[in-house]
Each structure stands twice: as C-alpha cells, then as structure tokens.
C-alpha cells in the first residue's frame, strides 16, 4: 500500500490506517533519532513523540507533499527539541543489546558495524545540531540535497554547505582519533 492510499484511508476514518504508517516508517524514524540523540531510550521517546505529533497533524497533511520527508521533518525537529531540553549528562548505560533489532545481521558483521557506528555516533556528538541533522539525513538516510532542504526548511545551498562542513569536522575528529 502506498503512502497516498494510507493517508486517504486515515482521512476517511479507518482506525488502522495510522498503524500502517508506524509499521512502515518506525525503523527509519527510530534510526534517525538514534543517530541524532545517541541514547537508545531518548531515541525511542523522540520517535514515539514524532509519530504522535504526526497523527495529530495528519488530517492537515497535503497529499502533494511526500509523507516520509514530512515525517523526517517532524523527527528532526523533535530531536532538536530533545537536545535543547535535555542536558545529556547520563552515560549511555543502556546497551544496544537491551533492545535487540528485529532483523539481525551476522554476529561478525554486527560487531564490526556496531563498532563503526559507535565511533561515528560519538564523533557526531561534537557537531552542532544542524550540521548533525544534515549529515545523518545524507549519509545514514541517503536523502538528496533537495529532500534534506525540504526537511530542514532551508535552501539547497545551505544543505551543501552544512554537509560539507559536517564532513570536514568529522574528518578532523576521526583523523585525530584513529
């Protein structure tokens, strides 16, 4: 079922229509929140808030727009709010193993990718929020500059600049670290 059909069903009052949206986008939204916030529990809370806000606003959603860029915009703004509100003093004491992903890769691959993602996530915490959002949307979510511009409500020129600066900062951090 495509997004337009799901939205139409939702607007016609089908009770389960929003379930389809949650099931379709939960992994991508959660992943985005995790790279933005680093903490698993904060990411869960932010992703949940994102869907609740989306459910409240979906009646006003224009079918001309893309549902996932709209959801991403809500998720990015929710994460930015979370970071502003919370001083992230507590350590990441809740390991990733506590919330096992539903589709497990091989253990070796998992270990390697976890190590890499931990290094990347740690380095990203040193980036300003807007640079982090831009690089996550580009490198983790694989979105185009135009889509990122729509999500972040800025020009494509600003997106190019933010991604370039993010890479430059991350490269310097990782060269020092590795």
């Amino acid at each position: 079922m495509d997004d337009i059909e799901i939205i139409r069903n939702f607007k016609h009052g089908e009770a389960d229509a929003f379930n389809d949206i949650v099931l379709k986008y939960q992994d991508r939204i959660f992943n985005l929140c995790l790279y933005m916030l680093r903490d698993t529990h904060d990411a869960q809370d932010a992703a949940q808030d994102c869907f609740i806000k989306a459910c409240r606003a979906l009646h006003d959603f224009s079918p001309d727009a893309s549902l996932y860029t709209w959801l991403y915009r809500i998720a990015v703004n929710t994460c930015l709010d979370y970071r502003r509100k919370r001083i992230q003093s507590r350590m990441d004491s809740h390991s990733m193993a506590e919330d096992m992903p539903s589709h497990m890769p091989s253990p070796e691959k998992l270990y390697e990718s976890r190590e890499i993602s931990e290094v990347v996530r740690t380095a990203m915490q040193k980036l300003p929020e807007k640079l982090r959002a831009a690089i996550v949307l580009r490198e983790i979510e694989g979105l185009s500059y135009e889509e990122i511009a729509e999500i972040m409500d800025v020009s494509t020129g600003t997106v190019k600049s933010r991604i370039s600066r993010s890479r430059e900062e991350l490269r310097k951090i990782l060269v020092r670290k590795l």
Partner: protein, 155 residues
C-alpha cells in the same frame, strides 16, 4: 583551481553534485595535489564508515507502544487533564500555602495571649544578683569554689 576552492568542492564531488566542468577542474587538481588528494581520500573513508555503520531497527514492541500512546493522546479527558492539570496543581499549591499562613497567624496570636506579662525593670534587675551561689551546698564543687575564692555576695 586553488587548494582552498578544491577542498570546498570535496563534499559535493563525493555526492556527485558538481557540474561536468567543475568535475574536470576538480579532478585535474586532485591529480596534481597530494594534500587535496589525501583529504579527498579521508572524506571518502568517512562516507565508507557511514555506509558500514549499523542501521538499527526499532525495538520489539515499539509500534505497540506508539499506538498505545496515540490512543491515550486521543482520549478527550486526557487532553483536558493535560491542559488543566498544571492549573489545578498550582491552585492546590496556593490553597495549601494560604492554609499554612492562616494557621501560623492564629497560632502566633495564641502564643502572644498565653505568654506571661512582661517583667518590670525592678524584677529584671533582681535576676542579675548572685544569690545563685548561696544555694550551693558547702561540700559541692561550687561550694568548694566559693570557699576557695572567698566570693562574698553583695546582698
């Protein structure tokens, strides 16, 4: 192309966002400049790290929790309580503070009325004398001290 300009284009080159003309100029510079070539390779390595980084799925039960949260959000009494709860809590705090002030006021008044009448100046002065030594038995430490020092009451 100068190094400063070339380095600004590295990110767009990786994302294939440069025009064909810019790409040719950039590639020519990279061929000739070892420092920019190194920076390009390091930035490409960063992109490879992102590509290899783990994509995490939402935890089990996440969708159920989200849908339960949405249901709770839809309930009208919940929304009303969400709106009015801060007002009610604030009103209760103010009422509690008022009760404490009133109790404090009346109990203070009770203390004032029950207290003995203030001492006169003569009564006050009579409390300054050293009669207290007289009651000390002679075999007590105080009595021994008075005996040793020979303190005489002026009374």
């Amino acid at each position: 192309m100068r190094c400063r300009h070339a380095r600004k284009l590295i990110s767009q080159y990786i994302d294939k966002e440069l025009s064909s003309g810019e790409t040719k100029l950039f590639s020519a510079h990279i061929e000739a400049c070892a420092a920019c070539r190194l920076e390009l390779e390091e930035t490409k390595e960063l992109s490879r790290m992102f590509a290899a980084a783990e994509r995490v799925s939402a935890p089990y039960g996440f969708a159920t929790r989200v849908l339960a949260g949405i249901e709770a959000d839809k309930r009208p009494q919940n929304r009303l309580s969400h709106i009015f709860r801060p007002v009610l809590v604030r009103a209760a705090e103010v009422a509690f503070a008022c009760v404490i002030v009133v109790i404090g006021f009346f109990s203070g008044r009770m203390l004032i009325t029950d207290s003995p009448a203030p001492l006169s100046a003569a009564e006050m002065r009579s409390t300054f004398h050293l009669d207290v030594f007289e009651s000390a038995p002679p075999d007590s430490i105080a009595g021994a001290y008075i005996g040793m020092t020979g303190v005489q009451n002026e009374k």
